[in-house]
Amino acid sequence: MFLEVKNIVKSFHNEAVVRDLNFSLDAHKTLSILGKSGCGKTTMLKIVAGLENADAGTISLGGKNIDNVKPGKRNVVYLYQEDLLFPHLNIFENIAFGLRIKKFPEKEIVEKVNAMVESLELNGQETKMPHQLSGGQRQRVSFGRAIITSPSLLLLDEPFGSLDAGTRQRMQEFFKSLTAKYQITSLFVTHDLKEAILMGDEIAFMQSGRLKVYKDKTDFINDPVTGVQNEIGFWENLIPGKVERETLRK
């Protein structure tokens, strides 16, 4: 397995936030993790990114143990709900940021950024400042800035949480095509049930610091704790018989 997380435990002030975390993920796959606010999702991602130290457990990436590797050397990029574009840099420089701090040659930076701008469908926007873009465009720049550095693992912490429903749907589709094109391995954290099912090749549910990874999506849908059955029940009450068939078909 490309990413292997074993027996991770983390507490804050004697309160267990992450309990005995175990999961693994193949390269170029996305594991979507569903969980309510405060269930330990963000802490888990921060431990994988090296931004928080685990109390116990080990993480290996690409066959190498990364427990003592600093965040900057892990090649794991963490993306927040906010796009966090640098307000003092234009779109080109925002995307080029990771390459510049890794001291890539100027010619290579220009080539890579131009190709990324093309992939992000942001042609002609390179010289604009972040405040001149829409929420969806800013989030695309944020993805581009992360992906251009060829991260081994991308960690996404509710990246579409601040977008409206329409933009969110477009961004979900866009993200799927982008991960396929650049063969990204990612952990996608969300509290949106539909988004969790749509975005992941594999799916997991986190509750009170414990993570349960499901064999497949049907297994996830049939588990009452995930809330899918409640959701189906809700819609079935409105349109009897139709919803369950359509949800399972997806």
């Binding site: 965040p71 900057g72 794991v76 993306l79 003092h88 701090i101």
Partner: protein, 257 residues
């Protein structure tokens, strides 16, 4: 048409605000102006040309004040920015923030009197370095309090993002934090410069009359009843803050709004 008092009141207010400054400039250009003369016996640039004579010591005081204020503003802004980060992210942030208010509990003169023993023992009494250190002790807590609002959750996220993108602490500081804080740094520099520039109590006690900044000089002229030189040194005293205010307004405030 309805009569309005508004323009008259506004004009009166402008005149009231501008008059002391205009009168000070006029006074700095006058001499031998005795009661009951309506106009001074001499009106010209003679006093201003005297700035460059060593007798008044105004030019040396001006340069010394500039050096002291720039040193205090630079060191307190930079160290305040860096140390406020540690304070803001510390688990005991509230305690440390409370301690930063300590220098303001006492009047600067009392504060200086309390510290004078230590300045005497370290040989800093009566020296420009001593005055810089003393003024730093007032300006630095101000910078700490000023920057505490900068270090919030969003800035921490920027730092973490930069780290995961491969940046080290130096790169994060130079390429992310400094540009993000540019506006606040300039405002803090301006404010701490002003704190130092107009500081009298601390400077007079720690400087013991040997370190004659422009503010000290103004009081000396006034004590000597030399209003013309007093007005002249006040003009000099106002010039750098006005220049800094202009720079701030032109390059900082307009961009922040």
């Amino acid at each position: 048409m309805k009569f309005s008092w508004k323009p008259f009141i506004l004009t009166l207010l402008v005149v009231l605000i501008v008059f002391p400054f205009a009168y000070m400039v006029l006074l700095s250009m006058a001499s031998e102006w005795r009661f009951p003369d309506v106009l001074p016996n001499y009106f010209g640039l003679r006093n201003w040309t005297q700035i460059f004579s060593s007798e008044t010591g105004l030019i040396s005081s001006f340069v010394l004040s500039i050096v002291i204020s720039l040193s205090v503003a630079f060191t307190s802004t930079l160290s305040g920015f860096l140390i406020s980060r540690s304070v803001s992210y510390h688990p005991r942030k509230r305690l440390f923030t409370l301690l930063t208010y300590f220098p303001y509990i006492l009047a600067p003169v009392v504060f200086a009197a309390c510290l004078s023993y230590f300045f005497l023992m370290t040989g800093l009494f009566g020296s420009a370095t001593g005055v810089i250190v003393a003024q730093f002790m007032i300006a630095f807590p101000y910078a700490l309090i000023f920057f505490s609002s900068f270090w919030n959750e969003r800035i921490r996220q920027y730092e973490e993002l930069t780290a995961t993108l491969g940046g080290n602490r130096r790169q994060t500081f130079l390429k992310v934090l400094l540009p993000l804080a540019k506006g606040m740094l300039l405002i803090c520099f301006f404010q701490t410069f002003l704190i130092s520039w107009f500081e009298y109590g601390l400077t007079s006690i720690i400087g013991v009359g040997k370190v004659q900044t422009l503010t000290i000089k103004v009081f000396l002229f006034i004590k000597e009843a030399n209003f013309y030189y007093g007005a002249l040194s006040c003009c000099l005293l106002i010039f750098p803050p006005v220049l800094l205010l202009y720079i701030n307004k032109r390059y900082v405030f307009n961009k922040l709004i």
